[in-house]
């Protein structure tokens, strides 16, 4: 289990990370969200041991990053934003270097390299020079490199950057699979990606954690301004008249819809208002019918903006 306990990072007066704490179990995929400059990469670099935290402690499987640095690093696999690769080496040589540092015996190296190459889908090019590979391939080499030695904790910073759509799907599936046995931390700018892969989402804003919740829970967070989407059959003028008589509605947006004679009405509700019962009571009549009604959950983008703007307020 990864235990991050009150870590901070100071560069003189600048404090990109302030008192972050969280735990991560094997079997969890933690999505790291934050605007540019929120401190995502700084946190990931500290977790990977690239540079130390100014205060606080980090441990994985009981190994403290300061007291047992090498044993801690033995248990992690890290893919930074720019994959760290030697252009003059072949993929196989690069992976052999990592295998030897991670203490994989000579007789097991070939098998291990083939295993990670299969996972990163680079088996057919493993003898090619890295400098001749495209950005997408370099990303997958970096991923394969991070998987060497079956690390218990995988830290992936923008793992799908530069990949084509099919590769993105494959890598997402791979990460989901890896998340069943490993503890995975993934950072991405693509919010839908975080929403689809992560079992838990952590939102950073200005160096603080502003949300740390299971994905399902976070995605079902009611927004400050709830929207009730109602598909109604009937005359628009009459419907608007009846809607205007209801209290708790700030604004109504009307949109065409695919069903004949129907319109979609987006009711922007006042905070805490629930007009569904009243709506069912006053709207239906001989010429008006409610065809569909659903509360709109905010998108991850909206939740993200909500969370990160809260801090500003």
């Amino acid at each position: 289990m990864l235990i991050v306990d009150h870590i901070s990072k100071n560069y003189g007066r600048l404090k990109p990370i302030r008192d972050i704490s969280f735990n991560l179990e094997r079997g969890e995929v933690l999505g790291f969200l934050g605007a540019n400059g929120a401190g995502k990469s700084t946190t990931l670099n500290m977790l990977a041991g690239y540079f130390p935290a100014s205060s606080g402690s980090i441990s994985f499987d009981g190994f403290d990053i300061f007291k047992a640095q090498l044993l801690y690093k033995q248990g992690i696999g890290y893919l930074p934003e720019i994959p760290p690769l030697y252009p003059d080496m072949t993929i196989s040589e690069q992976l052999t270097l990592v295998c030897s540092v991670k203490g994989i015996s000579r007789k097991d190296r070939k098998e291990e390299i083939n295993r990670v190459c299969r996972m990163g889908q680079i088996l057919d090019v493993k003898n090619r020079l890295i400098k001749t590979m495209s950005k997408g391939y370099k990303q997958r080499i970096g991923l394969a490199q991070a998987l060497i030695g079956r690390p218990g904790l995988l830290i992936l910073d923008e793992p799908t950057a530069g990949l084509d759509p099919q590769q993105i799907i494959d890598i997402r599936e791979l990460i989901t699979d890896l998340g069943k046995e490993h503890a995975v931390i993934i950072s991405s700018h693509i919010l839908s990606e975080i929403a689809s892969i992560s079992t838990r989402i952590l939102v950073l804003n200005k160096g603080y954690i502003v949300a740390d919740q299971p994905s399902e829970e976070l995605l079902n967070t009611p927004s400050k301004n709830q929207i009730l989407n109602v598909r109604i059959l009937g005359d628009k003028t009459k419907i608007m008249e009846r809607l205007s008589s209801l209290s708790g509605i700030n604004r109504v947006d009307v949109q065409e819809c695919c069903e004949q004679g129907c319109m979609d009405y987006n009711l922007f509700l006042e905070a805490g208002a629930d007009v569904r019962r009243n709506l069912s009571r006053i709207l239906p009549g001989e010429t008006i019918s409610i065809m569909q009604m659903k509360m709109m959950n905010p998108t991850l983008e909206e939740i993200f903006i909500d969370l990160t703007s809260t801090e500003d307020d």
């Binding site: 670099n45 990977a48 041991g49 690239y50 540079f51 130390p52 640095q69 090498l70 044993l71 690093k73 033995q74 992690i76 890290y78 930074p80 720019i82 760290p84 690769l85 030697y86 252009p87 003059d88 080496m89 040589e93 270097l97 990592v98 030897s100 540092v101 991670k102 203490g103 490199q145």
Partner: protein, 233 residues
Amino acid sequence: MLAIYIKEMSQYFRSMVGYIFLTIMMLICGFLFTTGNLMSQNPDIKSFFSSLFNTLIFIIPILTMRQFSEEQKLKTQQLLFTLPLSIESIVLGKFFATLSMIGIGLLITLAYPLILAYLGSSALLLTLGNYLGVVLFVSMVVAIGLYISSFTDSQVVAAIVSYGVILILWLTDSLTPYITNQLLKKILAIFSLKSNYIEFTYGIFNPAGILYFLTLTGLFLILTMVNIDSRRQ
């Protein structure tokens, strides 16, 4: 350390730097031996090693300039520092790999004393002393070069600064006769690169000279480790 050593050695030969270094070294050494010993019919190997000293000073930065500068530029230091590797093993791996490259060149120069021995001039202890001196001196220059390359991501800057520092050490001897202050003169003599090296060319195993080179090598290796660690903060 072994993994870094192997990586560095393979990179020297893969990036052509190793071949370029060995070619330049062999051309200069061959020229020095041919003109200084064979053509001038001089059986004394000492003259070859005196010239070798000046040559090595200016070709070693070819090897050291890329060591940490390139890692910084390519961002591969992020890999090294997040793998289960200590800073000591990274620095020592690079140090011994660079030393080995120069060692390959020096091994080839073994042909010269053998040629002289074949022609009738054999001085085993003198030759051994010279090689010991060269190895000690080279170790120190490599350590200085590594230290300088740990400051910058530009290989050119690393090379120029290395040349500058070595040139200052080299010129110290030329300045000494003009200094009137006896204390300063003594201090400069103690730290003089050439005077500490020159005794080895006579086959003298001077413990002070050995200590001088070993201390400076150790000092610059430690400074490199400290600098890398502090730049990670």
